[in-house]
């Protein structure tokens, strides 16, 4: 064992695994929820512990560097707040009879399995393990999405299942190709699948196979990222699953898939003979932004609406990484972090709204700011943040993306801004219809746990006004890593 037995990464893996096992046997859903929160908090602490201890050499199984530290801390944090939110969310579901205690037992266990899978995917020092972990996370989310057993839910998870299975297959082929490409340089065996050694010898890998490999990896993991035209599963999965899962999907799983793509991009960047993946990323990002922008206008379901918004923002981030200059990478990372905070925050609000109104139909939701001031203004605040307006942080990241890319790719940036503009108008159209106007439907207040939302919003707000130097340096090093 090359790593200390008590190193935080190990614990960050052990905690969710163990608690998943534990939760599988807890009958009382209230206690289960508490355990869930506690476990998530614990793993968040572990993630923070990564900063406490000195960075150790990449082990045989685990790899810890700036990149996945950023992702992991973010994941653990959002996982924690989301578990908090779901603790406040499920009582309504029990009350409304949409979920049964039996299902909840399954739900909580799966929640931790999901966290475990994502943590493993982030830490894995092996492209094969990465692949297995992502698949595990996907399967768990598939099960969670279908948990309501309504025809829509089943259809959504079925679609999710099929699409992601194919994607997984493609990703695996890409992985195999990478191995074959590396085998010459690194010899046979695990060495040729290990991130650390792959990066070290990136220049010696077979470039032509790497091209092919990246293509398959991009399609495979890109499906999970939700890039157009591979996005089809995303809106429905967001719309039909329980809202905490929507939050986790948007806030975490997409990031993990993106993480995989970024890793491979780094790998390619290390080799001077391969085709640059930048244009491909830019194209897909642009396509996602433009497509999602136009899809806003005909949406009738609030959660699906924000699912499309996630597609848009994943497009923005991919676009940023496609631009590829350090500033853009920095902006992309920042945007990713802030997006998962904001979007999960929005989903907290949306969850409560759909519970308060008893519907997800946009047409049936009006005048929230009057009937449920907290929900209404919260939704507005989240929307303003996601639209990239100050004082929230996404303004900063979009500012940086545009300004860093404009001198090199003026026309592309123009298209990009066009997409942002169309998306802006569409989202404002939908949201202002819900937040304002004469209230309709149920107006009795519901009981909420506002804390997670506040935390997220405050963080995003703070990012827009002042970024602490530690974050900046961390992101900068990561951006350098991505190149």
């Amino acid at each position: 064992m090359s790593h200390l037995p008590f190193s935080p990464p190990v614990w960050a893996l052990l905690v969710p695994a163990a608690s998943a096992l534990l939760l599988a046997f807890v009958r009382d859903w209230r206690r289960a929820a508490q355990i869930n929160v506690a476990a998530s908090f614990l793993s968040f602490c572990m993630a923070l512990g990564l900063f406490a201890i000195p960075r150790e050499e990449p082990g045989r199984y685990l790899l810890v560097d700036d990149l996945n530290t950023v992702f992991l801390v973010l994941n653990a944090f959002v996982g924690f707040t989301t578990s908090l939110f779901s603790a406040g969310y499920i009582p309504h579901e029990i009350a409304s009879g949409r979920l049964t205690p039996r299902l909840l037992r399954f739900y909580h266990a799966m929640y931790q399995v999901l966290l475990f899978g994502m943590t493993l995917a982030l830490f894995a020092n092996n492209i094969g393990v990465l692949w297995v972990a992502v698949e595990m996370a996907t399967v768990t989310t598939v099960l969670m999405v279908g948990i309501y057993r309504t025809p829509e839910a089943i259809e959504a998870s079925w679609k999710y299942m099929m699409l992601s299975s194919v994607a997984i297959a493609l990703a695996l082929f890409g992985t195999t190709l990478t191995y074959v490409a590396a085998r010459q340089a690194l010899g046979e065996g695990t060495e040729a699948m290990r991130w650390s050694s792959l990066f070290k010898h990136a220049a010696e890998l077979d470039p032509s196979l790497l091209n092919l490999a990246f293509l398959f990896v991009l399609l495979g993991y890109g499906t999970k990222v939700g890039l157009v035209p591979l996005h089809a599963w995303l809106p429905d999965a967001h719309a039909e699953g329980p809202t905490p899962i929507s939050a986790v999907l948007s806030g975490l799983l997409l990031n993990v898939a993106l993480y995989a793509v970024i890793r491979f991009k780094i790998l390619l960047a290390g080799n001077s003979h391969v085709l640059s993946p930048g244009p491909l990323l830019i194209a897909m990002g642009l396509a996602s932004v433009l497509f999602a922008a136009f899809m806003f206008y005909r949406r009738r379901d609030i959660k699906r609406l924000f699912g499309y918004s996630s597609i848009e923002h994943m497009g923005i981030i991919t676009f940023a990484f496609g631009l590829g200059n350090p500033l853009a990478n920095f902006a992309g990372l920042l945007h990713m972090a802030l997006h998962s905070l904001t979007k999960s925050g929005i989903f907290f609000m949306v969850g409560y709204i759909s519970q308060a109104k008893g519907t997800q139909k946009i047409a049936d939701i009006r005048g929230l700011t009057e009937s449920h001031p907290f929900l209404g203004w919260g939704l507005l605040a989240g929307t303003v943040a996601i639209l990239g307006m100050p004082p929230f942080g996404l303004f900063l990241s979009e500012f940086l993306i545009v300004s860093s890319g404009f001198s090199t790719h003026p026309w592309v940036i123009l298209l990009f801004l066009l997409g942002l503009l169309v998306a802006f108008s569409g989202l404002v159209l939908r949201i202002s219809g819900m937040a304002f106007g004469r209230p309709t439907g149920r107006i009795e207040p519901i009981q909420v746990i506002p804390l997670p939302f506040w935390i997220h919003m405050l963080l995003v707000l703070a990012a827009g006004i002042f970024l602490p130097t530690v974050v900046v340096t961390c992101f900068r090093q990561t951006a350098q890593l991505i190149r």
Partner: protein, 670 residues
Amino acid sequence: MTLITALGCSAALLLISIASVLLRRFSGRNALVYAATLAVSLLSLACGIEALLVSPAGSPTLSLPLGVPWLHTHFRLDALSSLFLAIISWGGVSSSLFALGYGRHESSPERILPFFPLFLAGMIWVVLADDAYVFLFGWEIMSLASWALVVSHHREEENIRAGHLYLTMAAIGAFTLLLAFGLLASAGGGYLFSSIRASALSPRLAGAVLLLTTIGAGSKAGLFPLHAWLPLAHPAAPSHVSALMSGVMTKVAIYGFIRIVFDLLGPPSWEGSLPLLLLGGVTAVLGVLYALMQHDLKRLLAYHTVENIGIIFIGLGLALAFSANRIPWAAALSLTAALFHTINHSLFKGLLFLGSGSVLEATGEREMDKLGGLIHRMPGTTVAFLLGSVAISGLPPLNGFASEWLTFQAILVSPNLPQWALKFLIVAVGALLALSAALAAACFVKAFGVSFLGRPRTSAAAEARETDPWSLSALFANAFFCLLAGLFPGQVVNALGPVVQELAGQALPRQSLPFWEPMIPIAQNRSSYDAFLLFVLIAFAGLMIAGLVRGIGFRPIRRSPAWDCGYPDPSPATQYTSPSLAQPIRRVYASSLFGAREAVESSPPGDPRPARISVKMRDPAWEGLYLPIARIVSFLADRLNPMQFLTIRRYLLLVFLLLVFLLLLLSLWI
């Protein structure tokens, strides 16, 4: 020191808005918030005036470790920013003073109180900004807060729609400005204004920046055809906010334009001034024509904002043309005219919107055709509104005329320009300006006459009450400054000296004190104007005549029913309404421009129903620009929407096709 104080003021405004949220339960918070805003704005007004008049030389800078990590945020208070700081602060003072009374009648103050100070703070940040990030930050905050205020009366559907259009246009403006800054920064300077100034742009890029800035700032200022949101959004907000939006926010847009084009962009090319002049003239005339067609008082005022923005842009275009041809004194003249008109417009448009606010409060009506006879019910408001009307119509001796006079003088030095295109265009623009001035007078004969004179058309108008002293004091404060600026234009020109010096490299000759000396922009024998003595003389003549009349033999006045050519008619419905007053002008101008068509439907004989006349009009901006865009967007949305409803197999087909496509690409590539 002044800069820090000004920033402190903006911070204080921020705190006020936060406090107003925290004090949700507290009953007296209305008065509290507005009083606090009033105090803070007074302080920042003092800062602006101090920086402009007392110590114009030094322009202090400050940088805080906020915002973009490695860039920080930079602030600067030079003459230009201090002038606009003063304008903004005065707007804050008068409208919060007004709101002290007016705000009491607000149905849901929690939708206004937090955003009102925030709005002011955002505008202050814009004018204090010394780098692109702060500028856009403040700009967006300004848009956001004003949007929240526009939709504050959220139960009316059209307010929501107006808000949507407004926010979209604001986004367009922000994006274009972002691109403009991107270009400016691409010259190598980065986002600091100082470094942007240092670096020079190629003419092509400079042209692009000018275009982008015109779109960005113009969409906020209400330049035709980007004005469409303005007449919808400004009236939708509560009146003291409308006053801010029309009187001040549009000026912040002007500031942005001046800052980028005259300060950051470096030496301009004369071609750039052509579109500006053209846009300015067209905006001026179309704005006032639109206004003439309105029957909603606040909307009419909003369209007049469009007109005045046009006038200001004419001045700016002239300044650009002159400075491009290295005629600094003429550039100085045009800039002075533009800035002077900016100040004036913020004064009288604030006054008029506040006046309309007190009318709205007293009668609950914005429709002029439901008003009338208010001169008897609310004398104070009437006097103030009358002064405002005279001022905005550009009639001596008030301030509107002074600035338009200066603009005319600037137009009359156009023979010094070498380019024929400019010579011709400027004369044509001058004609347009004259036309717009005359039409403005006509429009305010209508606005004031229909709503304040005549006989009340509804019981609401008949029972109107004079507004509270707070609102009145705000009205009269504005009116007083209108009169002051009108009577002593020379002093205003002096005050603008440092700003113009900074931008045009030369200021107008210093206007000589004492205050009764005439204003001489260029030379004694060329043109001069002395409002004060003129005013005194007119007053004297009027009094003399009155005295003379008494001398001849004074007979007491007798009251009797109106003569009306022997058709005495009790019903106030027979009075001219706003559409009927505008009818001749509509026939002359609108039939071609707006395709105005009158349709008379008279009921068949024996049918008691009255015959009615209806007017149909097309809006060229909407028909030409907005509706097509909306159609395109919705077309694409419809075409793409089925992507949500494909079968799994089809989705997989998409993946499959993409894969094959990329494989083909790869195989062809290598």
